[in-house]
């Protein structure tokens, strides 16, 4: 393979003057360098493009009895369905003709844009956002340690004044949509969210909307 070039001025040219003893000890390193850089480029490119990231998520332990679900006070239920459509309603679900005489729940539609879901989550999660922004400022001015910040931020997210999101999907929603919503919740500092199954009346409302 790689031939070693005879050092400069071998003196075998036709009729050239013989230059005695001018054999250089150098080898031509160009092919080797070429190869080295080729490998270098290869490894640089392959190593930087391969970085899987992950998001940690904890699913709820299934309740013993389904009726045991505690009522959610400051909550939003987000419902995902086909064609990347996304619906939500605030507070608790009130069926048509419920005994308390409350207005039956209506689904509103929103989008994945910054004016849609992001805005809704931000508005409803004002408490946690305010708290965490305040905490962040304190960390920045070195008034607070990182670990303290993490703990207090967690507390703020878990506070009962901050938002709880129930994420429900039907059979046609894609995984990407679910991740997008979870991601949005992480951005909006929603600490309490859960992915659960849809109830029958909710499904009824949804099918009516997506008909």
């Amino acid at each position: 393979m790689a031939e070693i070039a005879e050092g400069g001025g071998g003196g075998h040219g036709k009729g050239g003057k013989k230059r005695a003893k001018k054999q250089s000890t150098r080898v031509d390193m160009t092919p080797m360098v070429d190869l080295a850089f080729l490998l270098l480029t290869f490894f640089v490119l392959t190593s930087t493009f391969n970085k899987p990231k992950s998001m940690e998520i904890t699913f709820p332990v299934p309740p013993e009895k389904i009726e045991d679900q505690p009522p959610v006070k400051n909550g939003i239920t987000v419902i995902l369905t086909k064609d990347h459509r996304i619906f939500y309603y605030k507070g608790q679900f009130n069926a048509v003709g419920n005994p308390d005489g409350k207005e039956p729940t209506q689904l509103s539609e929103t989008t994945f844009s910054s004016e849609g879901l992001h805005k809704i989550l931000m508005e409803n999660n004002e408490y946690a956002n305010k708290e965490i922004t305040g905490l962040k400022a304190k960390v920045k001015s070195k008034e607070m340690a990182d670990t303290t910040f993490k703990r207090l931020a967690m507390n703020a997210k878990g506070d009962k004044l901050s938002l709880t999101v129930l994420l429900k999907t039907d059979d046609k929603a894609t995984y990407k949509d679910v991740i997008d919503v979870v991601d949005e919740m992480n951005i909006c500092m929603v600490g309490k969210y859960v992915i659960v199954d849809m109830s029958a009346p909710e499904f009824g409302l949804l099918t009516e909307k997506t008909k």
Binding site: V33, T174, V178
Partner: protein
């Protein structure tokens, strides 16, 4: 005209320092690079802002865009042991070579009955392997995926504890991680198929996962180019 003596300086410059550096870098990248085996399917995970790195020691279920589950473990020792337990339970026999080869395999999505044939196949044949319907995940009749997870979790935990104890005995720092459960699903997959996998996990009282995503704005894997059927 008298001959002007041009000083015959070689046009080459001394490349040694550059070459030294180049090889240093090559060595560095070569040693840090971790080669992945070719995956049986190309999965394009959705993007997220999460910048947590995926833990090293994982038991991973991959779900492709049509919802087939694929199973993989990162720890080769646990993988081989899990295979032996599975072989025992499902009465499929593997030769020692096959078991050894299986340790180096990436994730797979075949029924355990087809697994010996799958292991024997070459890497190119594996891409077109039939039937590749995903690891059967029928919780009543054919809970292979559940068993794979169960056995490999046991084995991976066993390996983890053994290594930790060994490190303790030798008085070394132990840097190993506990095995984690990861789900890598294609963005286009129906959530219901991912939910089935999650259900498989939660039925085993495993509630915490790492969902694999690509970094927002970063380069994600190219969309699958080849036909998958």
């Amino acid at each position: 005209m008298p001959k002007i003596k041009v000083p015959k300086s070689a046009p080459s410059i001394d490349m040694t320092p550059m070459v030294d550096l180049a090889f240093l870098l090559v060595t560095f990248f070569m040693l840090t690079a971790s080669f992945r085996m070719a995956e049986p399917v190309i999965v394009d995970p959705p993007s997220s802002v999460s910048d947590k790195l995926l833990p090293e020691n994982t038991i991973m279920v991959t779900v492709d865009d049509i919802g087939r589950p694929f199973f993989g473990i990162s720890n080769a020792e646990a993988k081989v042991n899990a295979l032996m337990k599975m072989a025992d339970k499902y009465k499929v026999s593997f030769s020692p070579e096959q078991i050894k080869k299986f340790g180096g395999l990436s994730s797979f999505g075949v029924d355990i009955k087809d697994l010996p044939r799958y292991i024997n196949a070459t890497e190119n044949e594996r891409l077109k392997f039939q039937p590749q319907k995903g690891v059967p995940n029928d919780s009543l009749k054919n809970p292979q995926l559940r068993d794979w997870i169960l056995y490999s979790a046991q084995e991976a935990n066993g390996v983890f504890i053994r290594e930790r104890d060994k490190a303790k005995e030798l008085g070394k720092d132990f840097k190993g991680e506990k095995p984690r459960y990861a789900i890598k699903a294609d963005g286009a997959a129906k959530y219901i198929s991912v939910k089935d996998i999650i259900k498989t996990f939660t039925d085993m009282k495993i509630y915490r996962f790492n969902l694999i995503t690509s970094l927002e704005g970063g380069a994600s894997t190219p969309p699958p180019a080849e036909a998958k059927k």
